[in-house]
């Protein structure tokens, strides 16, 4: 176990300042395959080492600790719902299932076998959940405790992403092409057409849903999941934005833009912030490493996990600037 403290050293850059406060040793690094999951006073993540236990990072004490004795290597799609419920997807093939915890991942149980590793979770934050995979789904109306099968609801697409937009009051499920589905209850769906083929994850932040185009060259936004706006004021171009991750709240969203080298590995990370839901962007500090994860804790802070010289770094936004969290 590491005893981590705040160093608070500033990094140079042209944009908003980053301050380093915490790292994780290799054995405690967050993995790239799972979202950071907000806990009451910090985050949970899967370690990078072979044991891959759920680990918590407490934002008040800056300590991290193993939460559960079971290894969940490759856990993904972790989502926090209401009443401290966290669900995530773990396993592959016929061993894939939705796992659920009601106590911050200290105890975890398998609640729904989906038989498909490409299962995507979404919740409305009011106790209703969607687990979408292949062209089928499960829905839950009791905060993930029990699930009901919904066969064939996605017709001809293979699910590639799912989210819930509170402004529209709709779930959205995307596939590999321009076709996508929306639903108010996860049971009855409507087929719609995106203006462009999305690439990678879709993000819903504060009632706005975003998807990006090939190589990050374009970013689209919708608040009703019907009409989409091409955000033309993005500061990155298709040549330097191969992967974009978004996180934030109604006041600010942060884009982590990752460039890949010729070998296909993450090379450089650039970060930007927007205070008008993506209409305009401001340059944040250049970050010398690469990013694995970016997430919002649902309280006040956006967190970013980067990787610099194989040491995972955790960064935090405050109301006015980023604070980089680094261990002693």
């Amino acid at each position: 176990m590491l005893n981590l403290g705040i160093l608070a050293s500033a990094s140079a850059g042209s944009g908003t300042e980053w301050t380093q406060a915490q790292t994780f040793a290799n054995s405690a690094q967050p993995r790239t395959t799972v979202n950071l999951v907000p806990l009451t006073t910090g985050y949970a993540f899967i370690n990078a080492n072979n044991s891959s236990r759920w680990t918590s990072w407490d934002s008040t004490s800056t300590a991290n600790s193993q939460l559960n004795a079971t290894s969940y290597i490759g856990a993904r799609q972790a989502v926090r719902g209401s009443s401290n419920v966290i669900c995530f997807v773990f396993g592959s093939g016929t061993g894939t299932a939705v796992y659920r915890s009601t106590n911050g991942l200290s105890t975890i149980s398998s609640v729904r076998v989906t038989d498909n590793s490409s299962t995507f979770l979404a919740t409305d934050g009011a106790g209703n959940w969607l687990a979408a995979y292949s062209n089928d789904a499960y829905t839950s109306a009791d905060n993930g405790a029990t699930w009901t099968a919904r066969a064939n609801v996605f017709g001809t697409i293979t699910v590639g992403g799912a989210s819930y937009n509170s402004n529209a009051g709709l779930y959205i499920v995307t596939g590999a092409g321009t076709s996508y589905y929306t639903s108010a209850d996860g049971i009855t769906w409507t087929l719609r057409t995106l203006p462009q083929t999305p690439e990678g994850s879709i993000y819903t932040i504060a009632g706005f849903t975003y998807f990006k185009r090939l190589n990050g060259g374009q970013l689209y936004r919708s608040s009703d999941l019907i009409n989409w706006t091409n955000l033309t004021a993005i500061p990155w171009t298709s040549g330097d934005a191969w992967e974009i991750q978004l996180a934030g709240n109604s006041s600010k969203i942060v884009a982590a833009v990752i460039d890949f080298n010729s070998a296909g590995n993450p090379d450089l990370l650039y970060t930007y912030q927007s205070t008008d839901n993506g209409s305009t962007w401001q340059d944040l500090d250049f970050f010398g490493g690469t990013t694995n994860l970016i997430s919002y804790d649902g309280l006040a802070n956006v967190y970013l996990v980067g990787n610099n010289n194989e040491v995972a770094l955790l960064y935090q936004t405050t109301s006015h600037q980023f604070v980089r969290l680094v261990s002693a």
Partner: protein
């Protein structure tokens, strides 16, 4: 699977034996209204045929948790 079309040309598709539709389609996916009953009917038939022809992607071998 079966479908119904109401007087407003809203297509509803049902799984066999179910009364709640899995699809409620008021327009074509791009938002264009169905031109008439025949076009809505043709769209519904094509949609069901394509859905029934859907094949799950090949899955890898399972892995499970370890104590």
């Amino acid at each position: 699977m079966r479908f119904e079309i109401d007087s407003l040309l809203v297509v509803r598709v049902f799984n066999d034996g179910e009364t709640i539709p899995i699809l409620e389609q008021p327009t074509l996916p791009d938002g264009t209204p169905f031109a008439d009953y025949a076009s809505a009917e043709q769209w519904a038939q094509d949609y069901i045929a394509q859905t029934l022809a859907y094949v799950d992607p090949v899955e890898e071998l399972p892995i499970t948790e370890e104590e």
